[in-house]
């Protein structure tokens, strides 16, 4: 708690990140009180510019942009968090085991790891989308994205685990008869938790970017509001040409706020965890 207070007071990036994410979280909180069902179209008069009744205007499909956006941010962030959590778990398990076991096992795991890292993500997700078609839900999409998004961070965790396996306390643990799983969970896991946290932020940004990209292209459940999905509908109704700028502008502004907030937070947390990056920025 004291750490949080100090970070807020002395770290401007952290403060900015917290404020920006606060805006997003408020929006998401408001989605619970939405007067409209998020999937209903023509609930309000279409194509209304921003006014006191409809703060961010309404879409050509008769939806209120503000309330749509609250639901869209919620869905997009949920997708990102789900991807980040699943891919963190995979990265953790793979990185720790590979680094600790070493030798041939490590080589085999890392070969698979690098293969997955080299795969292009978007074509694969599109392929999965076309194969799954109607069964495709955002959870499945998140699962596939998570299966693609862990390989870089598992290498990071492995590099730490490789260093830990030859440390005295690991040898001591082995000698005292601790089983491999116990060593990994009790002795090595605490070491990599900070890495988990800051890679989670980066992974979240990546996953949201992925979701927005896919939705803009229409490769998702298009009736379920998401930030990319809103832009997809706006494009398909030629919103820019017909002057309905608010339909595109507000989702874009908020996705930028979300990205900036996460980035600031990731940066400041990284700086807090790894003092060397602070020195690097000071020019050392």
């Amino acid at each position: 708690m004291k750490i949080l207070r100090d970070l807020l007071r002395y770290n401007r990036e952290f403060l900015a990140g917290v404020v920006l994410l606060g805006i997003i979280l408020t929006m998401i909180g408001l989605s619970l009180f939405s007067p409209f069902d998020e999937r209903t179209i023509f609930a309000v008069p279409p194509d209304m510019p921003p006014s006191l009744d409809h703060w961010f205007g309404t879409t050509s499909r008769g939806q209120d942009v503000f309330w749509q956006l609250t639901a869209a941010l919620r869905n997009t962030l949920a997708f990102g968090i789900l991807v980040a959590v699943i891919s963190r778990l995979i990265a953790l398990v793979v990185g720790l085991t590979s680094g600790y076991l070493g030798g041939k096992v490590d080589q085999a795991i890392m070969a698979a790891n690098d293969t997955i890292g080299a795969l292009p993500h978007i074509p694969i997700l599109l392929l999965v989308y076309f194969v799954m078609r109607d069964q495709m839900s955002w959870v499945v999409l998140a699962l596939v994205a998570a299966l693609l998004g862990w390989s870089h961070d598992s290498r990071l965790i492995r590099s730490v685990a490789l260093g830990l396996r030859t440390r005295e306390f690991t040898r001591h643990a082995v000698f005292s008869g601790m089983r491999t799983l116990q060593i990994l969970v009790r002795e090595h896991l605490p070491y990599v938790v900070p890495i988990l946290f800051f890679t989670a932020m980066n992974n979240l940004i990546w996953a949201i970017g992925l979701e927005v990209t896919l939705s803009i292209l229409g490769f998702s459940d298009i009736n379920r509001p998401s930030v990319g999905g809103m832009i997809y509908w706006a494009n398909s109704h030629s919103a820019m040409v017909s002057g309905i700028w608010w339909w595109i502008a507000f989702p874009m502004v908020f996705v930028v706020i979300l990205f900036l907030g996460l980035f600031m937070l990731a940066m400041s947390i990284n700086e807090y965890i790894d003092p060397r990056s602070r020195l690097a920025r000071m020019g050392a």
């Binding site: 005295e168 306390f169 005292s176 002795e187």
Partner: protein
């Protein structure tokens, strides 16, 4: 029955790279016995195989090191356990009967976990589950003059001497019959060193356990060990009661080790022995010490000297045993 019997033990580092096989004979044909309730010292310069020997005897070796020949047998509470033929029995005996104070043992405690967690991780499953673990740890620490408060600390919050004492506490909490100590005092300054030595001695007396104590520091050996084994290039060259060895070393190498010790009031410059210890992948023929030995004769180059009873009540492997003098 002695606490530990090592019989003609050979353990080599075997490396095969691109078809080129290399053997590093770190432990070469060593036989020795450690009795109950004694501190057995192992001396020798760096790369003489001390650490390799005790790793082998504790069953803590990892590839590329391999036991080629010979056996290591412990006697735990009257039961004989062969380290390499009964690995399951050995696994159970670890920590309970056999504990290990490792080289650089300052780093034995995991820096991101509290000390009490290290105790729990390492020792809990080896102890009687009926007694309260926390109470026993606190009681044990108090006997070693450590405040129970250190259990809540992280290792970096403690001084080097405290950490060293904690690792000794950790190694002795299960009251083992056999303790292997690999240079536990090397990284410490003299005052803390003295403290730690007294602690090890005290624990050993109370538990009546056997200790194998490794260090290159002859003055530490003089202070703590009952019997002393001197290693050179992977072999044991001399063994005997510590006091007698210091008084009349039989092997020229031992004589040199003892001569290198500074004495109060003696202002002479100590001569160092010319040369370096040999590469253990390609050791010299005959007696491995002959290239550096001032007493070497033609026989030393051809014949490997055997370990034979010596005049000091121990054993020595030298063709000219007893002729060396401490200068």
């Amino acid at each position: 029955m002695p606490a530990l019997t090592i019989d003609r033990l050979k353990a080599y580092y075997v490396n095969e790279h691109f078809g080129l096989k290399r053997e590093v004979r770190a432990v070469d044909d060593i036989s020795l016995v450690v009795r109950r309730n004694e501190i057995y010292g192992l001396a020798g310069e760096s790369s003489s195989g001390k650490t390799s020997l005790i790793k082998t005897l504790a069953g803590a070796i990892r590839p590329p090191m391999r036991v080629i020949d010979g056996s290591v047998r412990f006697n735990f509470g009257g039961e004989s356990v062969d380290v390499y033929r009964q690995p399951d029995r050995m696994r159970q005996a670890r920590w309970r009967h056999l504990s290990y104070i490792m080289q650089g043992s300052m780093n034995v405690l995991n820096p991101v976990r509290r000390v009490k967690h290290s105790f729990r991780d390492f020792a809990f499953r080896h102890m009687d589950p009926n007694r309260d673990f926390q109470d026993r740890v606190v009681e044990h620490l108090r006997r070693l003059q450590l405040a129970p408060g250190v259990l809540e600390a992280y290792p970096h919050q403690l001084s080097g001497g405290m950490r060293q004492r904690l690792t000794i506490a950790l190694a002795t909490i299960c009251e083992p019959e056999f303790i292997v100590a690999d240079e536990p005092t090397t990284a410490l300054d003299v005052l803390v060193q003295q403290d730690v030595l007294a602690l090890i001695k005290e624990v050993q007396r109370r538990l009546r356990s056997s200790v194998v104590f490794v260090t290159h520091d002859m003055s530490v050996h003089a202070a703590i060990t009952d019997r002393l084994g001197v290693m050179y290039a992977g072999r044991l060259v001399e063994e005997g009661p510590t006091a007698r060895i210091f008084a009349e070393p039989q092997h020229p190498y031992t004589a040199h080790l003892i001569a290198s010790l500074p004495r109060i009031g003696d202002a002479r410059i100590r001569r160092s022995l010319p040369g370096k210890p040999p590469a253990l992948s390609d050791p010299p023929s005959g007696c491995r010490f002959h290239p550096r030995c001032p007493l070497a004769i033609a026989r030393c180059i051809k014949e490997v000297p055997e370990m034979l009873p010596s005049a000091t009540g121990g054993r020595v492997a030298c063709h000219r045993a007893g002729e060396a003098e401490v200068t």
